[in-house]
C-alpha cells in the first residue's frame, strides 16, 4: 500500500461505512413501505400500520410512511390518530396535495364540512388535475346545496374521463344528470341519464333515474321495460352521490 493510500484510508472508511448503513437502511425502509402498502391495499390494516410504524420508528420524519400511516388510520376509522399524523405531515410537507386530500377525508369523516372543503380547495390549488379531489369537492358542493358549483365539478370529471378516452363513471353520469334536471337543462339531463341507464340498468339509482327521465322526457327510457327489474323504487327523498373511493395513492 502506498503512503498516499494509507493516508486516505481513515477518510474513506467512515464514509463507506455510512454509505453502506444508509443503503441498507434505505433498502429496509423501502421494503417496509412496500409491504405496508401491499397490506393497505389488501385491507390488512394492522399489518400496514405496523409496517409504516416500523419505518417511522427509525425515521420519524419519513413523509411517505407518515402519509400512508394516516391513510391506514383513516381506513380503520381511527380519525383522531389520522388527524394528528396528517396534521404533523401537513407542516412538514405543506405543498403536497395528497396530504391535503387525506386531511379532507379526515374532516369528511369527522363531519367538519367547511374544513373539508378548504383542504380540497387547497389540494386542487396545488394540483388542479387531482381527480379524486374533484370528486370529493363535487360531493361536498352537492351536500352544501351549491348545485352550480357541483355541476361544474362533475362536468370536469366527465370531460377529463372523455379526454383520457376512458368510460365516464356511472356515478358521475347519474349525479350530473340529476343536477342538470334540477338546474333546468333537460336536454343534457336526458342524455346523461340515458347513458347512465345504458351502463347501469340494474343499479340502485336506476329507478330514480327512470322517474326523473319520465318527468322530463315523455318517451320511454332505455331499460325501463326490463322484464325482471328487481329493485323497488327508492324511498329516499335525497340520494347523495356515492362517496368517492378512498384509494390510497401509490407510495
Amino acid at each position: 500500500m502506498t503512503g498516499h493510500a494509507r493516508r486516505a484510508l481513515p477518510l474513506v472508511f467512515p464514509r463507506a461505512l455510512a454509505a453502506a448503513v444508509w443503503l441498507t437502511w434505505g433498502g429496509v425502509a423501502h421494503a417496509s413501505l412496500e409491504s405496508g402498502f401491499t397490506a393497505l391495499t389488501e385491507g390488512d390494516l394492522p399489518a400496514a400500520e405496523a409496517a409504516f410504524q416500523e419505518v417511522l420508528d427509525r425515521d420519524p420524519r419519513n413523509q411517505e410512511a407518515m402519509r400512508l400511516l394516516g391513510v391506514a388510520y383513516l381506513d380503520e376509522g381511527r380519525t383522531r390518530e389520522a388527524f394528528s399524523t396528517l396534521q404533523t405531515l401537513r407542516v412538514l410537507a405543506p405543498d403536497d396535495p395528497k396530504v391535503h386530500f387525506a386531511l379532507a377525508r379526515v374532516y369528511y369523516q369527522a363531519g367538519l364540512r367547511p374544513r373539508e372543503r378548504a383542504e380540497l380547495v387547497e389540494a386542487l390549488r396545488l394540483d388542479p388535475d387531482f381527480t379524486q379531489a374533484h370528486r370529493f369537492l363535487a360531493h361536498a358542493l352537492v351536500q352544501d346545496g351549491e348545485l352550480y358549483g357541483a355541476s361544474a365539478e362533475y362536468v370536469w370529471l366527465k370531460e377529463e374521463a372523455e379526454h383520457r378516452g376512458e368510460p365516464v363513471d356511472a356515478v358521475v353520469l347519474f349525479n350530473l344528470g340529476l343536477l342538470d334536471a334540477r338546474l333546468g337543462r333537460p336536454d343534457r339531463a336526458v342524455e346523461l341519464l340515458r347513458r347512465f341507464l345504458l351502463r347501469e340498468p340494474e343499479k340502485e339509482q336506476a329507478e330514480q333515474a327512470r322517474t326523473v327521465l319520465s318527468r322530463i322526457a315523455p318517451q320511454p327510457a332505455p331499460g325501463s321495460d326490463a322484464p325482471d327489474a328487481p329493485h323497488a323504487p327508492s324511498t329516499e327523498p335525497t340520494d347523495p352521490p356515492a362517496a368517492p373511493d378512498a384509494a390510497a395513492p401509490a407510495p
Binding site: S84, V91, G145, L178, L179, A181, R215, D239, P240, A243
Partner: protein, 316 residues
C-alpha cells in the same frame, strides 16, 4: 466593636431580612401563579354562563313574586276604595297605595336588572363560543410550532387535543358516507309536477327560499375572496413596478390575475343569479298555492262543504 463581631452582626441582619426584595412581592407572586390551561379557561367560561343563567332565573323568580304581591296589593286598594270612608280606612288605603307604588317601582327595577342580565348572559355565551373555537386553533398553532421545533410526539398530542375540541360540538354521523338529512341539500328534481297541494307548494317554496339564502351567503363569501384578490393584485402590481421583469412576463402575470378575478366575479354573478331565480320560483309557487287555496274556498262556498257526500243519482 472589632471587625469580627461587626461582621457577625451584619450577617445576622442579612439573614433576618426577607428573601423577596421590597416591591417585588406581588410581581413574584403573579409569576408563580400557574397560567390556566385552555381547558380551565373554557371551564371558567362555561361556569360564567351557568352563573349568569342562574342569576337571570333568580331575577325572574323575584319578578314573579313581586308581580303576585302587586296584584294582591292592587286588589286590596280596590277593596279599600269601595269600603265606607273613615279615618282608619283612609290610613289603610294610604299604606296600601304606598306599598303598591313600592311594588311598581320594584317591578321596574327588576325588569331593568333582567334586561341587563340577559345581555350579560348573551355575552358570556359568546365568550364561551369564542373561547372554545379559538382553543382548537390555538392548539393547532402550538402543534405546528412543535413540529417545526422537531418535537413530533408532543405535537401529535396537541393535534389530538385540537381534534377533540373541533369535534366536540359536532355530532359525527355513524354512517359517514351520508350526511344528516337536515343538512343534506335536496338534489332531486324539485320542480312541481302540477298535482301538489297548496301546503306542498309552500314547502317547495320554502326549500327554494332556503337555497336562495344559501346562494346569497355564498356570494358574500366570494365577494370577500374577490376583495382580497383585488388587494393582492394591487400588491403584485406594485412589486412588479418596483422590480420590473421583462414586459411580457409582467403582462402575463397581471393577465392571469385578471383572469382569476374574472372567474371569481363569474362565481359571484352565478350565485346572485341563482338567488334571484330561486326567489322568483319560490314567489311563483307561493302565488300558485294562494290561488289554489282561494279556488278551493270559492268552490266550497259555491257548492257546499266538499266533504259532503253527493246525493245518489235519481233522487229528487
Amino acid at each position: 466593636m472589632t471587625r469580627g463581631p461587626r461582621l457577625a452582626l451584619a450577617l445576622a441582619t442579612l439573614a433576618l431580612l426577607p428573601v423577596v426584595p421590597m416591591g417585588a412581592g406581588p410581581a413574584r407572586a403573579q409569576e408563580a401563579a400557574p397560567e390556566p390551561t385552555p381547558a380551565q379557561v373554557i371551564g371558567q367560561r362555561y361556569q360564567d354562563v351557568l352563573d349568569a343563567a342562574r342569576r337571570l332565573e333568580q331575577n325572574d323568580e323575584a319578578l314573579r313574586k313581586n308581580r303576585e304581591n302587586g296584584t294582591r296589593l292592587a286588589r286590596r286598594v280596590e277593596a279599600l276604595k269601595k269600603s265606607p270612608s273613615g279615618v282608619m280606612r283612609d290610613a289603610q288605603l294610604q299604606d296600601a297605595l304606598k306599598d303598591l307604588r313600592g311594588a311598581i317601582a320594584e317591578e321596574r327595577r327588576l325588569r331593568g336588572v333582567a334586561a341587563s342580565l340577559a345581555i350579560g348572559l348573551r355575552i358570556q355565551r359568546l365568550n364561551l363560543a369564542r373561547e372554545s373555537g379559538a382553543d382548537a386553533d390555538r392548539l393547532m398553532a402550538m402543534g405546528e410550532s412543535l413540529v417545526l421545533a422537531g418535537d413530533l410526539e408532543t405535537a401529535r398530542h396537541r393535534f389530538e387535543a385540537a381534534y377533540d375540541d373541533l369535534t366536540l360540538p359536532v355530532e359525527v354521523p355513524r354512517q359517514t358516507t351520508q350526511m344528516p338529512a337536515e343538512k343534506a341539500a335536496p338534489n332531486v328534481d324539485l320542480r312541481p309536477r302540477g298535482d301538489e297541494s297548496p301546503d306542498e307548494l309552500r314547502t317547495l317554496a320554502l326549500i327554494l327560499r332556503d337555497a336562495a339564502n344559501r346562494s346569497a351567503y355564498n356570494a358574500e363569501l366570494w365577494s370577500g375572496v374577490l376583495r382580497r384578490l383585488r388587494a393582492e393584485r394591487g400588491t403584485v402590481a406594485g412589486l412588479l413596478d418596483l422590480a420590473p421583469p421583462p414586459s411580457e412576463a409582467r403582462a402575463d402575470v397581471l393577465a392571469r390575475l385578471d383572469a382569476h378575478l374574472k372567474e371569481v366575479q363569474g362565481e359571484i354573478g352565478a350565485r346572485r343569479l341563482a338567488q334571484v331565480r330561486l326567489l322568483g320560483e319560490a314567489a311563483v309557487l307561493e302565488r300558485r298555492a294562494a290561488g289554489e287555496e282561494y279556488a278551493m274556498l270559492k268552490d266550497a262556498a259555491t257548492h257546499g262543504a266538499p266533504a259532503q257526500a253527493p246525493a245518489p243519482e235519481g233522487t229528487p
